[in-house]
Amino acid sequence: MQMKGIGKVFPGVVANDGIDLEIIPGEIHTLLGENGAGKTTLMNVLYGLYQPDAGEIYLRGRRVAIGDPNVAIALGIGMVHQHFMLIPPFTVAENIVLGDEPRKGRVFIDMKKAIRDVEAISEKYGLKVDPLARVENISVSMQQRVEILKALHRGAEILILDEPTAVLIPQEVRELKMITDNLAAQGKAIIFITHKLKEVMAMSHRITVIRRGKVAGSVNPQETTPAALASMMVGREVLLQVEKGPASPGETLLSVENLEAVNNRKLPALRGISFELRAGEILGIAGVDGNGQSELVEVITGLRKANGGRLQIKGRDMTNKGPRQMAEAGVAHIPEDRQKRGLILDFNVAENLILGSYFKRPFARGINLRYDRVYSHARELIKEFDVRTPHEKTPAKSLSGGNQQKVILAREFDMSPEILVAAQPTRGLDVGAIEFVHHRLVEQRDKGKAILLVSLELDEILSLSDRIAVMYGGKIVGMVDAADADEEELGLMMAGGGQRDEGESAALRGATRNA
């Protein structure tokens, strides 16, 4: 397969600018690039979701025009999206044959044949699944297998995997590697889209780095290093490792004891959480999404009521105080959803920067809001935090994700908090912005703030934290010093303690995830 000079322009953005890409059978080819570099656009062109404005696609030497995904499928191109496209109440077999069901007569689905087909391809490629299990009851890595099988069932020769490791723990990533190696050995071509450097090195045969819509380089993993890849991705030298000295923890600022809470569906989400957070340290909370991390953050920041347990700030009981009181007690909060919770997108940057302090001097005098102060304050913070915005009166929605996050950081740090709760502070940001956020978090720690870092990215937890707690099923199942932390061990804890087959633990995980 060859793509030549692919160009795709969106209004105001050149997403792809003359990209050449060549994939050969049996190859695992990685597309590496930052968010917004154009990798997904390129793949959507290949899968027929977008039409290129320039360039040509050749398959087995023949030029093809891929008008829509059906054409792509017919040509043997399959795609596994980052967000799975499965129907939860259907069985594995039903999902796999969906859209291309074997039939009895004209209208009836031949379910027996479907199951036989599924078992056959599952056998052939070494992807074990239970065809009769319902998708809603199986784990995420299983669901991913189902997606891959679905593509193979449609006869995919080229398989596109969009950020396949985003939802997996380290052990599952290794399983995925075995699967992709096996597929490649059977002559399939695999295109693997990611922004994670470590996996790239382990998993691919060839790496193409995309930067700002162009190919920045194409290398073999043996000939390069993660650092070299990172600088290719970003276009300058990047510090991969966060520079930080040893922590010097001080007094205990936040302590929670036996905290219990329910989630939005009134199901238990926190089942007795206890820990202490001290000044001058970063406590990382690791865990797979949906194990109570969001609820924990909400309880600590006053956005969710605890049904049991105690929460103390500097020895003072603050259980079930509201968000304003928690903020006034010195708890700043970088929320996990910056667009829904962290910002008012239709407010301008300046108005967003006073969201926590608009009612205080110098901004408020009586009920008057002194906009001259609001704007001068905004100009200072924009400068200090290097927010790239044309104006302090620009609506927050016009800013890039990284700059939106800088606005939130600026606002929360400006509250001079003692405790900082950072929930997935780098989600969806590019490398430059991630560096910035990490650097600022460590800086705050060194100033003696207590930082609670919740992240789904294990690497982030490992590189920033001084201590690491692992959450599973609403409990803290392990607490280790970052110095002694072992990725393997953390991975096992994230999966619920040890057993990694599709037994009870996976079902439980599936259930909490759906919650």
Partner: protein, 382 residues
Amino acid sequence: MREKKEVVPAPAGAATPVASTPWRGLRLGDFERVWIAVLAVLIGMVVGALFVLWSGKNPLVAYQALWQASFANWSSFGEMLVNVTPLIFTGLAIAFAFRAGLFNIGAEGQFIVGQIAAAWAGYAFTGLPAVLHVTLALLAGFLAGALWAAVPAYLKAKRGVHEVINTIMMNYIALYFTHFLVNGVLRGHPYLPVTKEILPTARLFRFLPNALIAESSRVNAGFLVALACALLVYYLMWKTTVGYEIRAVGLNPTAAEYRGISVAKNLILAMLVSGGLAGIGGAVQVLGIQYKFYDIFSFTNYGFDGIAVALIGNNHPAGVLGGALLFGFLARGGTAMQSIAEVPKEIINIIQAAIIIFVAADMMIRRLFRLKRKGVTDGALE
């Protein structure tokens, strides 16, 4: 048709002034919004003209009659303002609630209870100086309107019941409750369903009373009260912490809650102020025009037209003034068109409807406009 220009003034400086950033999606700048309103009016007039032609009449004659009805002399201008004034109040009321994310369909009912409360305060209190009496009667209107809005406000904020349903139902309660009052305890006439007339001290000053000059009109200080309210709404919404909270809640309640802004409190507050504004509108109608409360057999429609006024005005006080002026002008001109140009009055409804459709479908207008300017390249934009 050239003369229609001045009908729509510029809604200056909405929520986020400067800075539309061209590289990140299209943003409707304020300037563009004014353009859309002007274009919508022009298109509405053209559509209306087509219907006039269809009915075999001359559109120019019709539109001349329309214009003359409001701008022939001071008297007609004053009478137009009489039409405009209540629409400013109801428009402001709906715009205010809308900024908090609430759709107040109940301005009609709030207007009605404001009327009867002001009428009662206008005759029940005696021996007050005029300034005090007028203020008191306006306050009575405000409180009645706010009280009427309080029910849906409470249900929305504390029980999560959608305000549209409840405000609509409160309209009917207002209609029949005032009917009950004016035929009962508040009846001020032996056989007519009206209240007593308000005292002279409660009347709003009329600028063109018959006695002084030849041209007369009922236009009164109520128009100034309306302008003052528009200014006040602007100040409250964009210059105070109160407005900051309300707008924050309206735009993103999740984010507002996250930084400790009470969603429930602000929803209730916004709804009360909204109801109060509509209530003052009703009070002004009684204190400046009617001098008594007449039983209302069907809705006044000021509350409903206020929805369109707020929509055209983009929920901004300046825009509301423009929208009220336009609707007041059209309503007044409709009758004139019928009598002078013998064009059915309903043509005016068509024009109004066309304008609303085009403003509401601003996307559509933008699309049309862009197509004209840039050719067809942007067709696949969204």
